[in-house]
Amino acid sequence: MYDITIIGAGVTGCSVARELSKYDLKVLVLERASDVCEGTSKANSGIVHAGYDAKPGTLKASLNVRGNILMEHLSEELDFPFKRNGSMVLSFDDEGKEGLQKLYDQGQQNKVKDLRIISGDEAREIEPSLSSEVVWALYAPMGGIVCPFNLTIALAENASVNGVEFRLGTAVSSIEKASEGYLIKTDKGDVETRAVVNAAGVYAAVFHNMVSANKINITPRKGEYCLFDKNVGTLTKHTLFQLPTKYGKGVLVTPTVHGNLLVGPNAVDIDDFEGVNTTSQGLSEVLERGALSVGNLPTRQIITSFAGLRAHEDGGDFIIGQPDDAPGFFDAAGIESPGLSCAPAIGEYISKMILKYIPAEEKKDFIRSRKGIPSMALADASEKEKLIKENSLYANVVCRCELVTEGEIMDAIHRPLGATTLDGIKRRTRAGMGRCQAGFCSPRTVEILARELGKDISEIGKNDPGSEFITGYIKG
């Protein structure tokens, strides 16, 4: 019998897991995919919002502002990249000032620090990449960027080190109320648990509706992105949002925390809960709108595009807590933007609720910090030498575009909740994330994975089962 079973190893589930791992509790995480961070958490803007966007009084508002503050501290504790690069909301006409003022007022009510409305010229001084069409801007120095993969992986690793059990590749099929808590049926056996955390992303409504008569409805809202080469990653320093207009919601143009340029997303409600395909229409829409902010986008420098699904709940706010008719079932549902920014705060918030339901002592031996995988690309010459001296595999370059070595890949495989797939390596080390998009390194990475996991290369996949690369031997 587990005390708490968390469904979903995305950023929300992992944040809750990490928070709960501070206490003397038996915690299990069930994840359908073969790795953590495989759903909504892997395909989003990677933005840590300042917190002016959400309506005052909503969970989105309070958790965003709190999450923004926690993120910086967490990034030091768990060693993942975060940068407070500041953001701007751009208006391309004079009337937009009113809209910016509304955001500013919301920000004040939400207690966002340092917000300012500035003229286009002032904005261009701070951010020279801005298009000459920008007339007004809301400037939010508290805005930041984070690596969503490293954030999620860091939380999961730390939770795992502190005793949380992760069952990956385990899909939940049903949840029933039991005499003591809940019975969760999965494709790999049943799980008995006193409490459940429903952090299942776009599927959260499905699980909620299994235990509660107060139905909720989540629609997958697709967002498409284009990612640009690092050689144009400095095009803009700030994250640039657009004030929604009658023509649409606007897309953002932002540097990523790793130094690429990211443009997107659009917003299209779809029926397919797995519909993470990009469309030519969506990609052109994103590029066209993104260009408004900076005048021109270097589209020849696009290295990849992707789509993610936001879990949009009809009510518009996060649904966090226990339904009246399902005590011990804790929803973390409808976690769409600014969900990533909120993740550290959601973990804290839900854990407090759970501790009221299942009181527990703080662990004395809680391991608070975690060291990430050292990066040869980011290391200076003396750090490089030191790493190679400790382990010569750090001199063996596997991914030439991002300068990722065999040492880093070995670390990614052998650390807690280590990578077992090509995508797992990619998200932990950036191997294959560069301009050749794994053309050169994928056979090498597959080989290393197979060697280290004691498998044949035909058993190594991109992500979930069915995504293997090799289909057979050549003749002879």
């Binding site: 395909n277 595009s305 992707f306 794994a438 994928s442 056979p443 050549i474």
Partner: protein, 435 residues
């Protein structure tokens, strides 16, 4: 560590450059190669057809490479394998080449001259921005070639190939030999990007259809490719609605162009040519940074390795010349005189126009050219019965009749030093196609 000449990349270009530099009297050479063996991408090109021009016989890629490797070994040219150059910068006349490998860690060499011969990479699905899902089963043709020819494994069973570049055509045949079904090759342009002989030998001989003016507009399948949707494109390369066809397959190979790998050149700050994606070079294949030469596919993408070897040999000789001139101070070959503002060295610029997309080199200093200077270029579209013209100023210097010209094949014109001298006073050459 100090070196006269460091050669970055031990593929066909680096090997030929090293051999010619050595033969020209430079002994203090070092080749840095990132792979486990010399020879570069030739090692996975096990088909034949290499060396027809150089050796007058048909060799496989590894055989062609081995001719150069054996010669380099015989000449005692030192090289390091599994060694990655991670930084390149200039300090005065010196170049600082920083590499790392397992036995030495991080090392910086102070080199007098450098040859850039890092090769190229393939354009990826991401760069093509093909919409759809992102399952396994999408490979660049070269990645698939590595799986088949180096690992002995098949990366798929039912294949669609986008792009008719040579590697894609070669892989169409190779995968067919190994039992895969290659359903079709779709090419965005109204003509193929590959060699004519490859269309004949790799597609026609196996009844693999080549659909010109077609592209992939959607990729289906969540874990593994299940199908791709192809469509016809109009003259602006935009898909024509209503022409979509879904083709069931588990593999999509991409052969949509090669991109010179100039990350190190960028660190050094050499001037780049936007058309080739490689450095701007003069007649000596010297970049805008003195003493840094470029050759092979890092300079511009070649169709035949024979031309790579020839070009790289010239880069090696010119690097040797540069080193000797440096050693002899200002004396040799007009060396420092060039920098005398009172008598600037004559420079002829080459204009690529009317169908000629670029030329390598793009600048010629007649005082330093060899007796025969090869100028290589590609054309922008398909021509039947056309003429390559070279004008000196406004006088026609060379006129070559060509039954056919195509973007997939590199063209070359040989300039005679004597002819340039006789052509009188002019400061630019114009290369153009006349129909």
């Amino acid at each position: 560590m100090n070196k006269d000449l460091v050669i970055i990349g031990g593929g066909p270009a680096g090997l030929a450059a090293a051999i010619e530099a050595k033969k020209a009297g430079i002994d203090d050479i070092l080749i840095l190669e990132r792979d486990v063996r010399l020879g570069g991408i030739l090692n996975q090109c096990i088909h034949n057809g290499f060396g027809l021009h150089t050796f007058k016989e048909e060799l496989t890629g590894p055989e062609y490479a081995s001719r150069f490797i054996v010669e380099a070994e015989k000449l005692g040219i030192p090289y390091k394998l599994e060694t990655m150059v991670v930084d390149l910068s200039a300090e005065g006349e010196d170049k600082l080449v920083t590499y790392m490998n397992r036995s030495e860690g991080l090392v910086t060499i102070r080199a007098k001259a450098v040859v850039l011969s890092m090769g190229c990479r393939e354009r990826s699905r991401g760069a093509l921005n093909i919409p759809g899902y992102r399952p396994a089963g999408i490979y660049t043709a070269g990645t698939a070639q590595r799986y088949v020819n180096i690992e002995g494994r098949m990366p798929g069973k039912e294949v669609v190939i986008l792009g008719s570049g040579d590697i894609g055509l070669i892989m169409a045949r190779r995968m067919t030999f190994e039992g895969a079904k290659v359903k079709l090759v779709a090419e965005l342009m109204p003509y193929s990007g590959g060699l004519k002989r490859n269309i004949a030998q790799c597609l026609n001989d196996f009844d693999i259809p080549l659909l010109l003016s077609h592209t992939v507009v959607d990729i289906k399948g969540k874990e593994r490719v299940e199908a791709v949707v192809i469509a016809e494109v109009d003259e602006k390369s935009k898909p024509v609605p209503g022409t979509e066809q879904e083709i069931k397959c588990d593999t999509l190979l991409l052969s949509c162009g090669l991109i010179p790998e100039n990350e190190l050149s960028g660190m050094l700050g050499v001037d780049m040519n936007r058309v080739t994606g490689g450095p701007v070079v003069n007649e000596s294949l010297e970049t805008s940074v003195k003493g840094v030469f470029a050759c092979g596919n890092v300079l511009h993408v070649h169709d035949l390795v024979d031309y790579v070897s020839e070009e790289a040999g010239q880069a090696g000789r010119k690097a040797a010349e540069y080193l000797k001139a440096e050693k002899n101070g200002a004396a040799a070959d007009g060396g420092k005189a060039a920098e005398d503002p009172a008598s600037p060295e004559k420079v002829i610029k080459i204009n690529a126009t009317d169908g000629v997309r670029y030329t390598v080199p793009s600048v010629i200093r007649p005082g330093r050219m060899e007796d025969k200077q090869v100028v290589r270029f590609r054309v922008g579209s398909v021509y039947k019965k056309a003429r390559i013209e070279v004008l000196a100023g406004d006088k026609t210097l060379i006129s070559l009749n060509k039954p056919a010209l195509a973007p997939g094949e590199m063209e070359q014109v040989i300039l005679q030093k004597s002819a340039l001298e006789q052509a009188g006073d002019f400061d630019s050459l114009t290369f153009r196609i006349v129909t």
